[in-house]
Symmetry: C2
Subunit: 469 residues, 2 copies
């Protein structure tokens, strides 16, 4: 008995996929993913049209999606993040239907509740057996955690595993179990290893970034949260990682024994685990090879599903117990609303991912960002796109000072007592404008090209198109 | 943030449990389980009546259920197995509603599909954290796998973890994740260690049992299935375990590298894993302390959910890939139908468990049984209760010969060539009757006290009451 099908095309045929249906992908192979395009090419060759694509993140390697949109193969996209290549095309109006943006917690929530049903899920798996037990921990395309793929596999009508590493049944230490899988397809290669490990997971060397990181670590130290049992998530941006490094030094010096590190996991978090800063890592996605090795070898480094990580309709999720999260921003406004979806010209080039999930869950949600980037102020009167509501953001750390949400007066007081440069957020905005001038608001069209759903499914904002030049 | 509730009673109140609802329990603490009775006592004290109890197995330690039936607290029971204490009371008509018997695969299938909804699931957990992440692998009441509890926790409206070992958040190497759990209650003791390890997991010393075991192992050797990749499950009865031991000797001698051992796991299966007979164990329930230690320490010894183990509506389950299963029987008839529900007097004292699931899945399903027990023939014209359909049973091994289902003529031929004593099943029946006489059929009442559902949900048989003496 075996579920192996000779080709992706044949598996699609067997799945009964037809015009108007929804397919899904996960993004653990990141910018090295070859599966989504492979499948979309096969769908196009089969003459199937009007497909809705629910993909946990769109990377620049998914550029060929543009052609499939132009050909009418893809007519809808639901995602938690969209890189600049496809983002620019969407902003310029390539899709008739607005993209639906969710969060990494909202996506499994809506899949599990049935709000966003999936007809056929495609699971890119670095190792699988003939019955569909699969894992990301081993194989030439190893990516570590498959956290985002669980809801897809468990709730899609048909689930197809695509692997380049078929192993004997039964697969040891499987992540997703055979009871959810219909078919298995073996291909030559599911991913480009260099792209699976993102280039963003390097610590910053920029002096401004290091000042920000130092302030961030000292703010955490001063917050009152840094004590035994401390839990922590950080993004993979350069300043966030530098902050994690400084934080580690403080924790080691003070002998603080944290409980868990969470999120997309980098080598810096692995290092903190191995140094005794944490008892455990809960990993929904690995950002680099050290993380992949660690989740494979260290039982304290555990895979979590996206629902366990961040679903707002789960009975609880790991973000609910989080003490501190460090997050990035492309803009933050004086109400502390954060934009991580669009650039200063209004083009889509990102998405919430776990941004608003962790901000909602953590006791202290901290944005780290330089006062300006490429002469554009980060602090603005009003963000172009509200990705994360300001009432869930507690602190903004820049190289010129730390702004604290007025809702968190006690935090500002703690920071002041620790000698940190606390500033009103409007003051930071003014400083940025003095240095860089007041930027012109981009001219956007009336057309809505994307709807941004908050983690609970409510409409948080809309993204308007950018007129083609 | 914490889900800890001070008492079971308070957790029941918070769950909204009321008259007419369904609650559930799992049976990994086996005859040492204290949780089911603790909860039922609390329900009774709260004045809640007419409760339907879905419990994966009823052991003799659950004797106090009888009182709760008499008091009107329990009015329905759904289970996969029922020991003699409660079984006798049910056979004597204590419940107005017939008991529903399912299989270990049919139970999660019906829970997941919504056919048998659960209002409140009670998860007895040897270790848990304050958010409900829990495991059976560690703690003073460690029982190993929690395989049967997953469907309950995942699909009940409310899920309550009851533990006697609250650990720091987050629990390492959790089995059931917090996203499924509503409340956590910490009590002094959830189980009696001596009862958690069943007395049945000892190898037989009875010479008749050893002859049967020797035939069984040689029949497996002769079957053509014993080659690299071989997969195997055995029950925990004495002759089954002896057969496993003999089989191990054959595998070691011939250098056969099996793939996986499955099922309820005993020290004998652990020994086979450690000796290289298998690459992996898939464990839905641990029968002894060696198995508990192994699942905790050996990554090749993996927990599987009941759905992954045996659900007939899963996209596949581990029983589907099984080569050989060795099973017991209280009766087998000349059509190879097997009874594991009732004794020769018609009293309920067992149940299918995984019997008919593995029989349906395995390439060779083998019954091992003595020709007679206490002067009662095992082979009969017609079983009192059809627990497992004869068309899924391939071989009966007794000390007086091996009967092969006529559907499997090629197996009979292989056995003959190996010099094994193949007999017609009617011949075995006649031998048993010559030795013991023809037993009188018990007089049963017209009243149906239990419905036996096959793994696919269809009605396989009914069990009639025994008139009170």
């Amino acid at each position: 008995m075996s579920k192996i099908i000779a080709s992706i095309k044949e598996a699609i045929r067997q799945s009964g996929l037809s015009d108007g249906m929804t397919i899904s992908f996960h993004h653990h192979l990141r910018n090295g993913d070859m599966v989504a395009v492979m499948v979309l090419d096969a769908i196009a060759e089969l003459g199937i049209k009007d497909v809705n694509v629910n993909i946990s993140s769109v990377f620049d390697t998914h550029g060929p999606m543009i052609e499939h949109i132009q050909n009418g193969v893809i007519t809808g996209i639901e995602t938690d993040y969209m890189g600049g290549v496809v983002g620019r095309a969407v902003s310029e109006g390539i899709l008739n239907k607005p993209v639906t943006f969710r969060t990494h917690g909202g996506r499994p929530s809506d899949i599990i509740s049935g709000k966003s049903p999936i007809d056929v899920a495609f699971i890119a798996a670095p190792a699988a057996d003939c019955m569909g037990n699969c894992t990301g921990k081993v194989g030439k395309s190893a990516c570590g955690s498959l956290g985002y793929a669980f809801a897809d596999a468990m709730y899609a009508k048909t689930s197809i595993v695509i692997t380049d590493n078929l192993v004997d049944y039964p697969l040891m230490d499987y992540s997703i179990a055979e009871n959810y899988i219909d078919y298995v397809v073996c291909v030559d290669k599911i991913g480009e290893p260099s792209g699976i490990v993102s280039g963003t997971t390097k610590i910053t060397k920029d002096p401004v970034g290091l000042v920000i990181a130092d302030y961030a670590a000292r703010a955490i130290e001063a917050s009152g949260l840094l004590k035994d049992g401390f839990s922590f998530q950080t993004g993979a941006g350069g300043a966030s990682l530098a902050a994690a490094k400084y934080l580690k030094d403080i924790m080691m010096k003070q002998g603080v024994k944290g409980s868990y590190g969470l999120g997309g996991i980098t080598s810096y978090m692995v290092d903190m685990l191995n140094s005794g800063c944490f008892e455990a890592l809960y990993d929904v996605q690995c950002f680099d090879l050290d993380a992949v090795r660690s989740i494979r070898e260290n039982p304290k480094h555990m895979e979590v599903t996206a629902a366990h990580y961040a679903s707002p309709t789960a009975k609880s999720s790991a973000v609910d117990s989080l003490d501190v999260v460090i997050l990035g921003a492309t803009e933050i406004d004086t109400q502390f609303n954060v934009n991580v979806h669009t650039d200063s010209n209004g083009y889509i080039m990102g998405g919430s991912g776990g941004h608003s999930d962790t901000a909602a869950g953590a006791k202290m949600a901290m944005i780290v960002a330089p006062l300006s980037r490429a002469r554009l102020p980060i602090v603005v009167d009003q963000v172009l796109c509200k990705s994360t509501p300001g009432d869930t953001i507690d602190v903004l750390v820049t190289q010129c000072g730390i702004a604290v949400n007025p809702r968190r007066g006690e935090l500002a007081e703690r920071f002041r007592q620790a000698g940190l440069p606390v500033r009103d957020i409007c003051e930071l905005k003014d400083m940025a404008q003095r240095l860089n001038g007041t930027p012109k608001k981009p001219q956007l069209s009336d057309r809505v090209v994307a709807n941004v759903l908050y983690r609970d499914g409510t409409l948080l904002d809309t993204i308007h198109g950018v007129p083609a030049k």
